[in-house]
């Protein structure tokens, strides 16, 4: 029963078992696995040498030797082709073949036991491990080439903070010999001002199990300290604490210098902005204020946080806030400059006028806004005061004009009456003394002079009012003819010659009444102040100056006049150059007023007893 049980067990063993009997090694027992391995043409009683099945021929030789020497042998990982099964192609599998001699009681060898253990899987795993090892070696070599080629210094630290590896670049950079003790030398090469910080930060990161990134100065081979960026990450063997840190050291000296310079420049600009007693601010491209200078805080009494990205609008007068907000949003949307005059609240509640200006700067860093609020309160108040005074003056002036006009008008009627009475008197009265008779003509002259003075006064006021009359294109000859027609009596009486030469500049853009008044005054003056020994010759010439500006020249051969030293007092009203000649003395004053108010000026040259030349520059030379 037990033997039968054992037999069944042996038969179904997953390893192949066979006995080979006698010196010619005939197959004895073959279990199921061995039978499948060797194939169906192998059967009990056959010789191994004649029917080796899948066993290689050299193994058959080895079988013979084991039988003869009695020394067991194991053939490891023998590749044996399996016979084709179920139409599947033949595949090779690996077996460890164990050859064990069998002895009888007298220790004589009677045969062999052959075990075949399938080790295909183990063999494949071994192959894979080998390939993996090769690949690892290849990757390792590549990594080494890379780490030794990149400009950075690479390094590895263990959990204690001791250097495991540093790439050769470290030695080139520091100039240290390859035998240098890294852990001892490295800290000494760090700039003394950075050393403590670096050691502390490194320790802290290792304790916390995190990476690090910091900058410090490391001494180069030439003794110069250069800024380096040290970055490292832990190698985690989860879930344990990190066992290694790997990192790289990059020289960032130049960038650092540059950014230091930038920082310095920015700090200086900021200092400048903070020193200016004006509200200065900057805003992002979106229009949110991100900087207010120191003075803004001082003026408003609010912090940057209280003001916020749009809080500046709260400083304006409540009724102007919405308008200013709309204007700012529009400026931001269009990228247009912002400008406006607003009253801004000071910390003490007083509102002061400010000009708020902002412009957009667009460069490679993207658009930003720069703004300033300039306090113009004093100027604004001054302007307001001036405006009030100006308005008052203008009104007074108008009143005065009206008074003069009214007075001259009101005086006309009594004068008219006086003249009528005088005519009546002259007709009816008789004088005994002929000298008394002369009194009549003197009274007559005085009355006539009073009349013309009143008329001129009224004309002056009227002309002043005409100063604001609209301009039109005027034909100079036409206007001159009109004026001369009005003076026909005087021209005839004095036998005067008037030459009008306007071909060079025949027209003028001017007020019609003004031009007429000017011509009238100048021509009548020329007639009035004629030299008693010769008939007057008056020349009127219109031409263009070198700058293409129209000029009018009026020349006479009359008495001439004395030109005052200071031109501003040249022709004051009611100051008369020739008291022996009748007139109110307002003529030249009026000419000058009209010219000046239209943006021109009057030039006079004169010789006593020879004549006078007036040059009218209608408009100021550009």
């Amino acid at each position: 029963m037990r033997e039968q049980h054992l037999h069944a067990l042996l038969h179904h063993l997953p390893a192949g078992v066979a006995t080979l009997q006698g010196p010619d090694l005939r197959y004895g027992y073959l279990n199921k696995a061995m039978q499948e391995l060797l194939g169906t043409d192998v059967a009990e009683g056959q010789c191994v040498a004649d029917h080796p099945g899948v066993l290689p021929s050299d193994l058959v030789d080895v079988l013979q030797q084991v039988y003869h020497t009695g020394i067991p042998y194991v053939a490891k990982a023998c590749s044996l082709p399996l016979p084709p099964q179920d139409g599947k192609e033949s595949v090779s599998r690996c077996y460890d073949l164990v050859l064990e001699p069998v002895r009888d009681d007298a220790q004589e060898i009677t045969g062999l036991v052959l075990f075949a253990v399938d080790v295909t899987q183990q063999e494949e795993a071994r192959q894979r491990a080998h390939t993996l090892a090769m690949e690892t070696r290849r990757l390792d070599a590549r990594l080494r080439v890379l780490t030794e080629t990149v400009p950075q210094i690479t390094f590895s630290l263990d959990a204690e903070g001791l250097y495991e590896y540093v790439s050769p670049q470290w030695y080139y950079f520091t100039g240290q010999p390859p035998t240098a003790d890294l852990n001892a030398i490295w800290p000494l090469l760090i700039h003394p001002d950075d050393r403590l910080r670096v050691l502390y930060q490194g320790d802290a990161a290792r304790k916390a199990g995190t990476g690090w990134s910091y900058e410090y100065r490391l001494r180069r081979h030439d003794g110069q300290y250069r800024w380096m960026l040290s970055r490292a990450l832990p190698e985690l063997h989860a879930p344990d604490r990190p066992v290694f840190w790997h990192g790289a050291l990059t020289e960032v000296h130049d960038q650092r210098e540059l950014s230091d310079a930038l920082r310095r420049g920015e700090a200086e600009l900021r200092f400048l902005a903070d020193s200016i007693p004006e509200l200065i601010w900057t805003a992002t491209a979106e229009g949110f204020i991100d900087y207010y200078n120191h003075y803004t805080g001082e003026y408003s009494g609010l912090t940057k946080e209280e003001l916020g990205p749009t809080g500046w609008v709260n400083l304006l007068e409540p009724r102007k806030q919405a308008e200013a907000a709309r204007q700012w949003v529009k400026s931001v949307a269009m990228g247009e400059p912002f400008e406006g005059l607003f009253r801004m609240r000071r910390h003490d509640g007083q509102y002061r006028w400010h000009i708020i200006r902002a412009r957009q700067l667009a460069d490679e860093r993207g658009p930003r806004w720069f703004g300033a609020c300039t306090d113009v309160d004093d100027q604004h108040r001054l302007r307001e005061v001036l405006q009030v005074q100006y308005d008052e003056l203008a009104r007074t002036n108008r009143d005065l004009d009206t008074f003069v006009y009214t007075a001259s008008h009101d005086l006309k009627q009594p004068l008219f009456n006086l003249r009528g009475l005088f005519e009546e008197l002259r007709r009816s009265a008789t004088f005994d003394d002929p000298e008394e008779e002369q009194l009549l003509s003197m009274v007559d002259d005085s009355l006539r002079q009073l009349d013309s003075t009143l008329q001129e006064l009224a004309a002056t006021v009227q002309d002043q009012r005409g100063l604001s009359a609209p301009v039109e294109q005027l034909d100079l000859r036409h206007i001159a003819d009109e004026v001369l027609l009005g003076l026909r009596a005087q021209i005839q009486a004095s036998d005067a010659t008037v030459q009008v030469e306007v071909a060079d500049a025949p027209t003028l853009l001017y007020g019609r009444a003004n031009l007429r008044s000017i011509l009238h005054n100048l021509l009548s003056n020329a007639l009035k102040f004629a030299h008693p020994e010769r008939p007057p010759v008056i020349t009127l010439r219109s031409y263009l100056s070198a700058n293409k500006q129209p000029v009018l020249m009026v020349q006479d051969n009359g008495l001439g006049l004395t030109i005052p030293k200071t031109p501003t007092t040249a022709f004051q009203p009611f100051v008369r150059q020739h008291p022996q000649v009748g007139g109110s003395g307002v003529g030249l004053y009026l000419v000058q007023r009209i010219l000046a108010s239209r943006g021109g000026h009057l030039e006079v040259s004169s010789s006593i007893g020879e004549g006078t030349t007036f040059t009218l520059h209608w408009f100021e030379e550009a």
């Binding site: 979106e286 916020g308 749009t310 809080g311 609008v313 102007k320 907000a325 529009k330 949307a333």
Partner: protein, 155 residues
């Protein structure tokens, strides 16, 4: 009742699809109505801006959560301050969907050109902030001269 409002702008990590926007809208509406959060969110071409109002503890916690949301970055808080009254009756989201079909009927959705003017309950400074934020997200409007800000006489 204590109230607070917060305004921020940010950038989406990647452009949001209609599907993303729909989900975001649903999620925010659900959470916000539960937490009594009202306000408005603007989205366009990866630009995000939001104003939300509610009780200070809730707005604070919400902003902390928003800040950590991996769907956007460059979160920039513009304002965070107490307010007297709410200015928004509900919570809305305004964006241009690729396919507007289906969105128009969605609760809480607004086409950007249908966003109402900033309410009078906001200060001018806050109304201007909303206008600038809207400008930053949607770009200059083609409408004439920003009718949504209150006129000078109404202030």
């Amino acid at each position: 009742m204590n109230l607070n409002h917060i305004v921020y702008i940010s950038r989406a990590v990647r452009p949001l699809t209609d599907q993303d926007l729909h989900e975001l809208l649903e999620q925010c509406r659900r959470d916000n109505s539960k937490n009594h959060i009202t306000g408005i969110l603007f989205y366009s071409h990866g630009n995000i801006a939001q104003l939300f109002e509610g009780e200070p503890e809730i707005t604070e916690a919400l902003f902390e959560r928003i800040k950590r949301d991996g769907r956007h970055s460059h979160v920039q808080k513009l304002i965070d301050k107490p307010i007297d009254v709410r200015s928004f009756p509900e919570w809305h989201m305004a964006f241009h969907p690729l396919e507007s079909v289906g969105f128009s009927q969605l609760q809480g959705f607004l086409m950007p050109d249908r966003v109402p003017a900033p309410p009078d309950t906001l200060t001018i400074a806050d109304a201007m902030l909303i206008e600038l934020v809207r400008l930053a997200v949607f770009g200059p409007s083609t409408e004439p001269a920003f009718p949504s800000l209150p006129g000078p006489t109404s202030a």
